[in-house]
Symmetry: C2
Amino acid sequence: MTTDPQATTSGATSVDAAATAGGAAGVPAPAEQLRGAGLRVTAGRVAVLEAVAGVPHATADDVVRTVREALGSVSVQAVYDALHALTEARLLRRIEPAGHPARYERRVGDNHHHVVCRSCGVVADVDCTVGHAPCLTPSSDHGFVIDLAEVTYWGLCPQCAAARAS
Amino acid sequence: MTTDPQATTSGATSVDAAATAGGAAGVPAPAEQLRGAGLRVTAGRVAVLEAVAGVPHATADDVVRTVREALGSVSVQAVYDALHALTEARLLRRIEPAGHPARYERRVGDNHHHVVCRSCGVVADVDCTVGHAPCLTPSSDHGFVIDLAEVTYWGLCPQCAAARAS
DNA sequence: CCGGACACTGGAATCATTCCAGAAAACCCG
DNA sequence: CGGGTTTTCTGGAATGATTCCAGTGTCCGG
């Protein structure tokens, strides 16, 4: 069973279809992105990229499941490997909320932050409207060479808050 | 060789002895704190509290080792249990830097933040001088009920930065 | 000083993630 | 279009921090 279902020639496969359908204006097609980042284009990586695009703040497990639906089968390591490579290449951003498995998102380059639900672990984006990242310059840095300031908001998502209120 | 570096007064059941010796100004004696929080006073808990006081941003493992030096032997679970209870009672604060084991600190109640070294994982405190925690009120909260905003700075500690520069 | 609640022990289990070695692709080159 | 090399994928086992469990021991109110 080495027949490859994703014909290489025709771009009519979900790859480009998603670029139009997924309608993420501005975000180029997966294959393009991979190539542009100097990474090899493999079915797995494309599928991982699409999975993260389709499931906003996907966990590695979400990605594994989504990719399996798309390709039939993938090893867990292939997914971790792809996620790692894509994160390294700045095509994905990794979020690691304490106590919850890591999540990945496609929004990269801007310094936005996240709200994490203490109960179910769901994550949502938060744009830091306070102009120029005020917290980015701590008073005393203890000699540390700081390269990133991340802000995480903790609380309850609408669902969990409602469930708790009743 | 179990010579205690922080020579407490005498062999008197370190519990109360430490209250005087360890005596960090402002912070009440361990036993007092426990009682005040409605927790039972046990040798283990007192030792855990002192361990965290002695090792600024101690990991659970640090605490286990320190407590074993003080008491002779403790089960790992007793330590985790104590850390959990103390954190619950707000006598300790837990810090969980992504990718590194959790750390505990005694500074509670004020909203200060942390710098984490990407290389060795060491943590240092950072007081948010930007007055009134500007990031605390995100623009859109997506309906989340937010109860805490934490800021984490990532970078390299002086040692690791120096090691890398050479 | 007694009893019931709570804490501790030791061992096994969990979960996300990583390591490993071999097989299978993907790309560069002619 | 067909090697050859490099990178990626597979499957299985390992890691490391933390938690679960059942039984035993300890603390503290009366």
